[in-house]
């Protein structure tokens, strides 16, 4: 089983969000970056579990600059075998998908697994695009993945229940919460990661289809108004007249 796991780098959830250059760039100053949790906890860990039971390899791919290397090393420390970084600094989803597809096209991966979204931009589109570009099936928001022979059985959460899907490999998948449990690396894995291969590959030509014009922060949270329990009438009045929600 040859598995490719796509890893993205995102700001830690406790980061202070600010922008620079007239609100056109995210201010990375003092920000701690982590592996996107959907990529790490679910996509990567499930890939490793499959490898551990069926044999094979797990390769990491990231599209990003040299600043991606710490998160790639972490993925290697958790247990991936090798990694490739496509040396491009772009946030356009189609551009990224094209790079991943171009790299993996002739490498006969049985599975390409991504997290369902990044926790920074929440785009959720890269895996679908990769599948289309590779012309293989795509299953989104998978919560369970089993592989037997050349068939994958995948569960998805749908309103009110679970949908069970079967598909033939190769396959692209986006992983949602529940597919696996967070795996903490260990010291030996960290030391071993140092000597695992991390290839840097130049990007293929691809057009950038979108660009960011600007960012803005959500409005600051307003003050909390406390209303005594016996004063329900006042609460209704405020909801009508001030919050205007009813």
């Amino acid at each position: 089983m040859k598995i490719l796991v796509c890893i993205s780098k995102v700001p830690d959830t406790t980061s202070k969000i600010a922008f620079t250059d007239g609100n056109t760039h995210f201010d990375e100053n003092g920000v701690q970056f982590i592996v996107n949790p959907y990529d790490e906890w679910y996509a990567l860990v499930r890939a490793l579990e499959i490898k551990e039971s069926l044999g094979g390899t797990v390769t990491i791919i990231s599209v990003g600059g040299a600043d991606y290397e710490p998160v790639i090393r972490k993925a290697l420390a958790i247990g991936a075998d090798d990694a490739v970084r496509i040396n491009a600094d772009e946030s356009d989803s189609l551009y990224i998908a094209r790079q991943i597809a171009a790299y993996s096209k002739d490498k006969s991966f049985d599975l390409v697994i991504c997290g369902k979204e990044t926790i920074s931009y929440n785009g959720s589109v890269v895996p679908g695009m990769v599948a289309e570009l590779l012309d293989v099936p795509y299953i989104s928001l998978a919560v369970k993945l089993d592989v037997a022979g050349d068939m994958a059985t995948v569960e998805r959460e749908v309103p009110g229940g679970i949908e069970v899907i079967e598909a033939k490999l190769p396959l692209v998948l986006s992983a949602a919460k529940g597919m696996a449990e967070q795996r903490i690396p260990n010291m030996r894995g960290i030391m071993a990661a140092r000597s695992k291969p991390l290839d840097v590959v130049e990007p293929v030509d691809a057009t950038v289809t979108t660009s960011v014009k600007g960012y803005s922060l959500p409005p600051a949270k307003g003050a909390v108004k406390m209303i005594a329990p016996e004063n329900a009438g006042e609460l209704i009045r405020l909801l009508h007249e001030e919050a205007k929600v009813i």
Partner: protein, 392 residues
């Protein structure tokens, strides 16, 4: 306890001095703590039990003997990584760190440094993977700061040694599978012996009633005519220097560990000072509280620099025992001061188990005493700089 919101503090951008692996080592331990330990630690401290199920997590992560070479089950990490592991463990609880540092520095280290190849192969892999837990018996009822006076002794009986005596205040003793025991031979020379739980005449009664280090088990080691096979003697070093060499390693770990305590208390106090409103503003806006917080981060930063440098020296094999004593002593005093200030910043909340501060405060009362008391480390520095021995 509340959700563990801890974030590290790095006022002088010390992270830039760390390698990628060292940062990953630290963040790994921090993630494990938040996931598996923070949610249960207050309860364990309240009940005064060592959460034994954590042994597996510690072992799997590689917190037992991290600097022992891979061929013996360790991870082959450097000394700064070891320090960072201790920092993150103690950031959560000194008792947890004690369990790991006894296993690493006081059990695996002497077997690795002073043991035979057979001993290394027999014990180290099982200690690294947590199958066996060890303890270190140096202190006796009548010999604490002065371990050279110990009375525990062994006699050569031809095909075995006969061991007699009592050790006291021994961390991990009640559930340890093996004990590294320091005892005198018939000529009065100190040697290390590996005593195994099954040996007849060996018992380890638990000690109770501790208000400090409540998540670490402490006990006695009683040797009543214990027959110890001759191959269980550590062959490659004897004399008081042998146990003191282990203590160097453990004390070095403590110097890092208590920075974790200080960081945790500073982190909690800083956050609280920005949230707690009095007289219409956050208490962090009052100069008196700012003075406390500013002094805390100043002292933490100084300790971080001192300890990082000590780590470099240790990596090069150049750190002296006296330098380690200085760091242990300085950092504990620093942490004690910060814990006490943090407790006051939290007001009444500071005395509850909603926050870790009071638990840290009680823990430090052990940490300042074991592995050489505050006074003893001062005398070590004094002797080092004057060349005059004030112990006797």
């Amino acid at each position: 306890m509340r959700t563990d919101l801890y974030q590290g503090h790095d006022y002088y951008l010390m992270d830039e001095l760390l390698s990628e692996e060292q940062k990953l080592v630290r963040d790994t331990v921090r993630a494990w703590i938040k996931k598996d330990v923070s949610p249960i630690i207050e309860d364990a401290a309240e009940k005064a039990v060592f959460p034994k199920h954590l042994i597996r997590g510690l072992a799997e992560m590689g917190a037992f003997g991290p600097y022992i070479p891979v061929e013996y089950g360790g991870a082959g990490l450097d000394q700064i990584s070891y320090g960072l592991i201790m920092q993150e463990l103690e950031r959560c609880d000194s008792g947890l760190r004690s369990t790991a540092s006894v296993q690493s520095s006081l059990v695996m280290y002497p077997i690795y440094k002073y043991g035979s190849e057979e001993q290394r192969k027999k014990y180290l892999p099982k200690l690294a993977n947590g199958e066996w837990i060890g303890c270190f018996g140096l202190t006796e009822p009548d010999f604490g700061s002065n371990p050279g006076g110990m009375v525990t002794h062994f006699k050569d009986m031809g095909d075995h040694f006969l061991l007699n005596g009592t050790k006291m205040w021994i961390s991990n003793a009640p559930f340890a599978h093996i004990a590294i025991v320091w005892a005198k031979n018939e000529e009065g020379r100190i040697h290390g012996l590996i005593v195994e739980r099954e040996m007849e005449g060996f018992s380890t009664p638990a000690m109770h009633g501790k208000w400090s280090l409540r998540t670490s088990d402490t006990g006695e080691l009683i040797f009543d005519n214990v027959k110890v096979p001759k191959e269980n003697l550590l062959p490659n070093k004897s004399g008081l220097g042998a146990p003191l060499g282990c203590l160097d390693s453990a004390r070095y770990g403590i110097a890092w560990g208590v920075i974790g305590v200080a960081l945790d208390c500073y982190d909690v106090a800083l956050r609280y000072s920005k949230e707690r409103m009095q007289f219409g503003k956050p208490i962090g806006a009052f100069q008196l509280q700012q003075k406390k917080l500013a002094e805390m981060i100043t002292e933490i930063t100084k300790a971080q620099l001192l300890t990082f440098r000590l780590g470099q020296l240790r990596n090069e094999g150049r750190a002296t025992s006296a330098q380690i004593s200085m760091a242990k002593r300085n950092n504990i005093a620093m942490a004690k001061e910060i814990v006490s200030e943090a407790r006051q910043i939290l007001g009444a909340m500071g005395i509850t188990n909603e926050f870790p501060v009071m638990r840290h405060m009680m823990n430090l009362e052990s940490v300042i005493t074991y592995e050489g008391t505050h006074d003893i480390h001062l005398l070590i520095t004094g002797m080092d700089i004057t060349g005059l021995d004030a112990f006797k």
